[in-house]
Symmetry: C4
Subunit: 197 residues, 4 copies
């Protein structure tokens, strides 16, 4: 079985998640510019989640591009990832509507942590189906980003109850780390497809 | 006519159904962790429906993968299945928001039962278009899961009015039975594509 | 330019339209079976619109399958059709929530009439791009269904103010006429692809 | 990496944005035709945004059709464009529900301006990946539309506070300028694929 329909379904779910988040941005009642001020934290949390989901889509895209076979375990690991990502609109909304209050900010981190673990499990499932000699295995290598991110989330969650902005800053930091698509996978792909070596 | 666009449309509808269900998880008003407690049954019913829709997507995927021709009857049997699945967000929401009260729990079972029957009808339509000698016919074989599931739902529905948790337990049991993608179809596909026999 | 992306986009929009309609089925507040009774007209109008959108998807599918080239006129004629179909959840909701009151029932007919005209314009645009000798031109032939449907809608709209059920009955009648995918196109396609004659 | 999945994801997001806008058209409470009158500005702003998103889809379609390679910069420039487009349902809703009041009308222009800039950046990213000798570079040429549109939006935004209808008129004017898909790209594509020269 190829990866086409898995990608198509994941794209569909990710596209919908990323788009229904904007429904949390409720149309304000006033007609003056001031009416937008209370929406500021909602907008900010929307931007953060949009970027995070964009990163997942981007990396998911690269990872499945390097995948040849789809097994039952991969299908379910993928659905497991989509499950946690589908909760992002909810946790984003709770955090945004409460001006980054401690508990909502911590829960947002829990959601991101569980999604990161689910992504790691999906990568495991793909690697074990492809074999340790595979293109993806070589490309992923030490995977320091994939190990650092959950660690940073795990630190951020309790810190949300001390200072919310520390947790928020750590979420932004993880996003910045990932913002660039993984050059190792791209390099490995280029090597296979293009060059003599 | 190929199965491509049928798969794409079904994927789109399933992706949307699975994602808009999360809109039932309304952002709570408080900012404390306690504010999440009343959402527990809504979350639980979301998980159950997410898994059920994932199973349908998975099996639908396998079944259409073994389908070569699409007839008008298949198109409409597929839309009929999507119709009952499109009601899952509604019945899930009613059950979750009422802490698994008897009538909503029974209605959820009715919905699952009708979807199971629709799936069986779709399988019939595909089998009759492919012929009894087809790959899918061999793969489906006795189809004990497809026969057991509606029977368990039919038992669960009246029992929801006796003890809700018995009905809920039966719904979970059916999900567990299906959780693994059908090995018979996979085996038959492997046989055709890969091996000498 | 091929028809692939046009089909994919149309599939996406149709899948979303068909699915967000179910959001009009608001989760009732009571927990007894009676709580569902007021939802009956909403459910009925949902079924009617689901079938109508299924018919559009089905026929759109067949028509584009017989299309080789996509022009700018076809792209915009297609968006025009999607525009009127995108209003179906709104007109369905107004009709369903008001138990098929005269004005909402008439507006529903206006929506269906404008969608039928848009479909006819799209067919015109495709035919003029393919040429009158084309496969589709032969397949469409006299197109009695495409001419009868708008006429029946035009009759139904004023009758909604006399007796609502006459208008509703005519909407159901048009759906029944279209329910079967157009055998002429299928026959012409089969002729081209498969047989010696 | 090909453009397929980028197109599929963009199509998904655009299809959802275009469709959830209709959720702003809330079902009115009355059953008389008069109940629709207050919806007039909401409907009008929906039409304007539907056409604008249709234009973006159309041009995006043509631009990616002339794209051979997808880089990380293109992926993110594309997500950046989708981000601003995802806010269109919000700004459309605010403008429509307030009968084109000055501030909402200006904000709508800001949204369109930022989307136009994002589109220009995406075109830059694609051109720099394809090289100045590329098909797209030749096709885009002087790109007077792409330069005029942001200028007109920038003029319209302050004018919304003087006379709302001037801003609205300028938005419609930009839409009319773009309504026709870019003949230069189509001509260049035809030249490459079809003709001897």
């Amino acid at each position: 079985m190829g990866t086409n329909r898995l990608e198509a379904f994941s794209d569909g779910v990710l596209a919908i998640i990323i788009t229904i988040m904007v429904l949390e941005l409720k149309v304000p009642h006033g007609t003056a510019i001031d009416a937008l001020v209370p929406l500021w934290p909602v907008f900010l949390s929307y931007v953060l989640s949009f970027v995070n989901l964009g990163i997942y889509w981007n990396n998911h895209h690269h990872m499945l591009h390097a995948t040849q076979r789809v097994s039952g375990a991969i299908l379910w690991a993928n659905l497991h990832l989509l499950f946690w990502l589908s909760l992002v609109p909810f946790t984003t909304g709770w955090m945004g509507e409460n001006q980054f209050a401690p508990a909502p900010t911590a829960l947002y981190g829990v959601n991101l942590l569980l999604a990161a673990i689910a992504y790691w499990l999906l990568q495991r499932a793909i690697l074990s189906a492809q074999g340790s000699e595979s293109l993806l295995a070589a490309a992923v290598g030490s995977d320091w980003k994939g190990k650092l991110s959950p660690a940073l989330y795990a630190i951020a969650i309790p810190l949300a109850f001390v200072r919310e902005w520390i947790a928020g800053g750590l979420y932004v930091l993880v996003a910045l780390i990932w913002l660039v698509p993984d050059p190792r996978i791209e390099r490995a792909l280029v090597k296979r497809e293009g060059g003599p070596r």
